[in-house]
Amino acid sequence: MIFAISTMLYSRSSLSDQNSSKLDTVGGHTPGYPILQTTGDILDPTSFVINPKNAVVDPMKYLREFNYGRISTSSNGTVIRDFTLIASDRQTKEVSPGVFYNVWTFNGTIPGPTIRATEGDIIRITLLNNGTKFHSVHFHGIHPAEMDGVFEGIAPGGKFTYEFTAQPFGVFPYHCHMQPLEEHITHGLYGVFIVDPKQGRPQADEMVMLMNGYDTDFDTENNFYTVNGIPFYYMHHPIQIEKNRLIRIYLLNMLEFDPLNNFHLHANMFDFYKTGTKLIPDEYTDIVTMNQAERGILEFSYKYPGMYMFHAHKTEFAEKGWTGLFLVKDGTAQSVNEDLNVTSRRNITNYSTSDFNKTTNLVSTGGVK
């Protein structure tokens, strides 16, 4: 897929204005496409922002949020990390702008929180089942049979603590393993579990990306594809990164129904560490293809500032939501952080002004195929 995109960010009017007689515009995302004026409403999932009150996740928060647990030390000096996961299955949340779906979640979001530890730590995860069905947590990695979260479901209102040693280092999925498995996974009970090598990895701007989809009309075909839970989110909220800085992405595919998914980076190449279990890259590439539960680590840095796309190179997935942008800034780490703060502050202001804001940045395009 060849997208040549130059950027100009500007703010869209909010949905609350739609009832006024003001003309709204749609289109102009793609080179050569007309910009249309309308007196009606706009249906534009590529530039609407879901009200955080309804949103299934805040993808920008999820991106760089790593949970290290409540830390304590055992008598022999081993680090113990305590986590709490609350399973629920009764909420209806907005998974794509304007589309509401009964989500089953760990801690209220899809994907669930990213759990992170260092190889050799003792992990204790307490699952509280706040739902109406049996649920469990099944971690990938090495652990005893009774900690595998497969044979013992936790009843509604029940509680169980999974305890095991984090091993080996790498990137792992965790998900509910109750039957019907497909149902529990498609509704959203999954997340990323990262085990760092003892010696650590080189300093980098780290982020987690989980690829998934939603089959909102239950026809065993996904209606939406996303990275980090909401379709097209990083199109209107590009991920800001710094020129020449090492970027590390922990990437996991949890897509149901479609056999394959992939990640393609524009105008760059990355080192790929399959499953993240080795410190030597397996491949130097710009695309990696994964089946469900496959994962790995991507490392790269951008040489030139500007806007770069990343997306599934299965174009169907890309055009149904699995598309995003990196905004490479030419500056210091501090200025990037300031930019991020500006972004989040602006969003908070906008959300407070109306119930359903579509305040966002449109990517206007020029350029050629």
Binding site: V26, H29, P34, T39, G40, P45, F100
Partner: protein, 436 residues
């Protein structure tokens, strides 16, 4: 007297109670409506939200965008969330707004550079994540109401409707010279043609009702309803028409027919005695009235045909080839024959009058093509086709009763010319229909 009074008194007393009986059902049903609308869970344990249902009634391909006309055909209000082309999500506009009350409609405009002649699938997703879609076999630019396009439709309508009907009328002098048997033959041939057209209209409207309209419209029942109401209304109108004409020409009340004027107030014996003249007049008035009704019926039918042609062009289902036009032309020439057949034994009809009948029958094709091409609506098409069917069956009835009248009692099925003519009429339509 007393007894009568008692009766009246009794009736009055019952009336009071009757009023109560009349009101109680409304009160009970009203209470049920309030209860069910406000708290259905009292009666039904599960209050599952009813499934949404929308119909994509029409898809138009404009210069740089695709327009889908959607209607909420489900049981409750819905909100449209997203639109897609070929299952790929695109930004779109929806007018007047994204929330649709029951049976309300909206226009979804998707900026999209489409390719002529390629198939497209337009999808609309509601707020609960259900996707509805409509396939278009071959994208074609929607006809715009420009002078050029309007003239093209007018030309098509003239070819398909006006010219063939006029050509059929040219057979008038030929028909006039026919013997009684041949006259019967042509009359029943006409009836056969019309029965074919009527059934064709019903099937056509049924097809649209099933394929393009949501079950919420109950469109199949609507077809039958509209056809029956049209039939009886036109029967009434034609009776009045004949009555008025007969009144002006002092009709013969002894003349047995379904159109007898028993209610005529100003008849006198003198009129009755002058029966031979009146009979002759009646003999001329009724066929002309029948021919006029046939013209109107065929006009309504051709209006429906015009709608179908215009819509087919709009929906890109048909590449209007000269072959197709030729087929319609041959098919419709027989309609002119249907108009002149009943008048074969009347006094010579002025050319102007014939022309008027021809225009009434053929002209609506042009009007239909305009409406179908510029403002297509499946529900309107179904209704017009059903009106056409009802009109045609009224004409068949009129021809039948006229033939019954001129052949005397039991004459209809005794004459093999009538049977052959009827069968031949349908066969002609079937064979010329193969060309379309």
């Amino acid at each position: 007297m007393e007894r009568e009074e008692g009766n009246i008194h009794n009736t009055y007393r019952i009336s009071k109670r009757t009023i109560l009986f009349g009101v109680v059902p409304f009160i009970v049903i009203g209470a049920m409506v309030v209860l069910l609308l406000n708290s259905p869970e009292i009666i039904f344990q599960s209050s599952v939200k009813p499934l949404p249902e929308i119909s994509i009634e029409k898809v138009e391909f404009l210069d740089d965008n695709i327009v889908a006309f959607v209607r909420n055909t489900g049981p409750s209000e819905i909100t449209i969330a997203q639109a897609d082309v070929n299952d790929r999500i695109y930004p779109a506009a929806i007018e007047p707004g994204r929330t649709l009350t029951r049976l309300a409609d909206a226009k979804v405009i998707i900026p999209f550079v489409w390719n002529r002649g390629e198939p497209y699938e337009i999808g609309i997703t509601t707020d609960d994540g259900t996707r509805f879609h409509e396939k278009v076999k071959s994208a074609a630019p929607a006809p715009r109401p420009t002078v050029g396009q309007a003239s093209t439709f007018a030309l098509i309508g003239t070819y398909v409707g006006v010219i063939p009907v006029m050509m059929g009328l040219v057979w008038y002098p030929f028909i006039r010279r026919l013997s009684s048997n041949k006259y019967n033959f042509f009359l029943s041939l006409t009836a056969g043609l019309l029965v074919f057209l009527g059934i064709d209209a019903l099937l056509e409207s049924n097809e649209i009702a099933v394929n393009a309209l949501a079950p919420a419209f109950n469109a199949q029942i609507l077809i039958i309803m509209v056809a029956i109401v049209t039939l009886i209304t036109l029967l009434y109108v034609s009776q009045r028409l004949i009555q008025r004409a007969s009144k002006r020409s002092k009709p013969d009340i002894e003349y047995k027919s379904g159109y007898s004027s028993r209610s005529e107030p100003d008849l006198d014996l003198k009129d009755i005695r002058s029966s031979p003249t009146s009979f002759q007049q009646q003999q001329m008035i009724r066929p002309i009235a029948i021919s006029m009704m046939i013209s109107i019926g065929i006009g309504l039918h051709n209006f429906g045909e015009g709608l179908a042609i215009g819509a087919a062009v709009l929906l890109g289902e048909v590449a209007l080839s000269s072959f197709l036009i030729l087929g319609f032309t041959l098919h419709n020439t027989t309609e002119g024959l249907a108009i002149v057949a009943p008048m074969a034994k009347s006094r010579r009809i002025p050319l102007a009058k014939l022309m008027v009948m021809g225009l009434i029958a053929g002209g609506p094709t042009i009007l239909g093509a305009w409406i179908g091409g510029f403002l297509y609506s499946p529900i309107a098409t179904v209704i017009f086709l059903s009106i056409g069917a009802g009109a045609i069956f009224q004409v068949v009835y009129s021809i039948g009763s006229w033939m019954y009248h001129i052949n005397g009692r039991g004459g209809l099925l005794n004459n093999h010319w009538i049977i052959i003519g009827f069968a031949f009429g349908m066969l002609i339509m079937y064979l010329t229909g193969l060309l379309v």
